[in-house]
């Protein structure tokens, strides 16, 4: 259904969802818009906006009248689907026998305000962990199945965004339970599922008018028009495969610190390590999944020999994975154009600039 509600109805929607879910939403903390469990709509960073550029980030008061004038949070929702560190198996040893206790993540989250890029990011992770994997991940599935998604149309992009290049629209077309588009005077609500409809029906709503739907389309068009960055994906995987031995990787390798910042803020980077946490005296051991990164020096070590010794080769692995290997593995790109890695790279490495350089090789 497509309806409109007064802006004041947002609080009611929030509270209705809160009754059934633990809400995770953008919050402003120590000058950065992050994500956190929240109790009240007031905690969202209404009235603020981000200024982002290569290796630059600042939150400012916005100079428009909109609630959703901030953009996406500085890090993606993935940590709520797969926590950065969690015990997935508890093992107890008794009389030479082992007993296993399977731990599950019992969370019923509602993500409140997922932008187009992050929504697409979740879709990409769905393919990695579930849909295109013959050994689907039960931990991911558990949280994912319970997940409720409220999406929001972006009114304006940040200067690092290039979502449209990666096939992502500022006004999402699918994947949400409810989509909110903030118009000048009212909110346009679109539902994607029955679960979403159930909540919207409890609001004071009326059918959306033709001109309101038009207005929402115009917002999207304007947003796309204001995108400052782009990445041409046309034939890019083939170009990358052709240039796998290019010296450009060494040049980037000289700048990259292998700090792993890009992999942490990326909504699609999924790599993890498994480590053991032991309590020897009690015969207890926990198996723990913990985020890892292809930039870490021991990531690809075989018999103490690191296959990717140089930082250049690690950057190449990351970039080629996003823009070439991923296409072969999952039939889509591993980048959704959120631009976060551009903002948070301390070496000012910009994936869109590198694309242009690679094309000129």
């Amino acid at each position: 259904m497509i309806v409109t509600v007064e802006k004041s109805q947002l609080e009611k929607l929030f509270n209705l969802i809160k009754k059934e879910y633990e809400i995770v939403a953008p919050v402003l903390r120590e000058g950065v818009i992050g994500l956190s469990a929240v109790n009240s709509l007031n905690q969202l960073p209404f009235g603020y906006t981000e200024v982002e550029e290569k290796n630059f980030y600042r939150v400012e008061k916005s100079n428009d009248k909109y609630m959703f004038s901030y953009i996406r949070a500085s890090f993606p929702y993935k940590r709520f689907l797969i926590p950065p560190e969690f015990t997935f198996l508890k093992v107890k040893r008794e009389n030479g026998k082992l007993a296993f206790e399977e731990l599950t993540i019992e969370k019923k989250y509602a993500f409140f305000d997922v932008r187009g890029c992050d929504l697409r990011g979740i879709e990409v992770l769905d393919n990695v962990f579930l849909k295109k994997n013959q050994h689907p991940d039960s931990y991911y599935e558990k949280v994912r199945k319970n997940l409720f998604i409220v999406s929001v149309t972006c009114r304006k992009p940040s200067d690092v965004c290039f979502c449209y290049s990666m096939g992502v629209c500022p006004k999402p077309k699918r994947g949400f339970d409810i989509l909110i588009t903030e118009l000048d005077d009212v909110l346009l609500l679109e539902t994607g599922t029955e679960k979403g409809e159930k909540f919207v029906k409890k609001l004071d709503y009326r059918d959306a008018r033709e001109e309101e739907i038009e207005e929402s389309k115009k917002i999207e068009k304007n947003c796309i028009k204001s995108l400052k960055r782009s990445l041409n994906t046309e034939g890019f995987p083939e170009i990358l495969y052709r240039n796998i031995e290019s010296n450009i990787w060494n040049e980037i390798g000289k700048r990259c610190f292998a700090c792993t910042s890009c992999t942490q803020v990326c909504p699609t980077c999924f790599c993890f390590d498994i480590v053991e946490k032991n309590n020897v005296n009690e015969g207890l051991s926990e198996r723990v999944r913990i985020y890892d990164s292809c930039f870490n020096p021991d990531f690809a070590t075989v018999h103490r020999f690191n296959i990717r010794e140089s930082i250049a080769s690690r950057y190449r692995q990351w970039y080629m994975h996003k823009f070439a290997y991923w296409v072969d593995q999952f039939g889509e790109f591993g980048c959704v154009g959120c631009g976060r890695c551009i903002t948070w790279c301390p070496a000012s490495i910009d994936v869109t600039e590198e694309e242009k350089k690679i094309r000129k090789l």
Binding site: K97, S138, V280, H303, I307, Q317, Q329
Partner: protein, 266 residues
Amino acid sequence: MVENPYLLKEAEIVEKIKETTDTYTFRIKCSDSFKPGQYNMIYYFGIGEAPISIAGFDGEILEHTIRAAGDVTSHIDSLKEGDLLYYRGSYGNFWDLEIAKGKSLVLVSGGLGFAAIKWVMEEAIKRKDEFSSVISLYGSKNYDSLLYTYHYEMWYREIDFKITLDNPDPRWKGDVGLITELIRKTKLNKDSIVFMCGPDPMVKFSVIELEKKGITPDRIYVSMERHMKCSVGTCGHCMFGPFFVCKDGPIFRYSEIREFFERKEV
């Protein structure tokens, strides 16, 4: 609901055979299903898991040959007969003998890579008549690092089984030299099908020798080793070009991986 891919199964070690100073073969009672070329993830309490090739299975007894290379493997090697072994699997693709039907099957292995070849070799012996010939070439660093010596007599009898040692030894009367030299010395048909497992450099140079004999890379299948943590295509550690070695492999047709395999740091 999908099944938890990390749950471990329990099986009893019925026999522990000392292969070399640091390598043991475990015979494990087990009623699972496996295919030659696949591997299991073997767990040791409090230490972790390691991917280990399935070195044999007859429907009741599973075999694993494990070298104490580090933390996990040295702990597993400390297990005794009667102890329980915890594993999950099987994982990965398998050696498909159908491809070699009617042709000459050539098995090439180096070092511990022989563990990944042993079972398919035993199967090939059973089905000997289906191939025009079965040749197995195995390279070992030293006399003391030879694996499965107790089977040699039978293998010599059944197929064209050849061993070469990298280093000469007074106790050794057979071939000495690298596996590449053994390949060079052996008469091989152009239309042979090759199954190979060994360290990366061995594979690379063996392919060169095989090509000199007219065996093209599309007839060569290679089992690869990479760092593995999850074995189910989600941790990212085993990534190799566009492939996940854990689930797309560990066996690859060489013509399909050559462009990545022969490049540094992929």
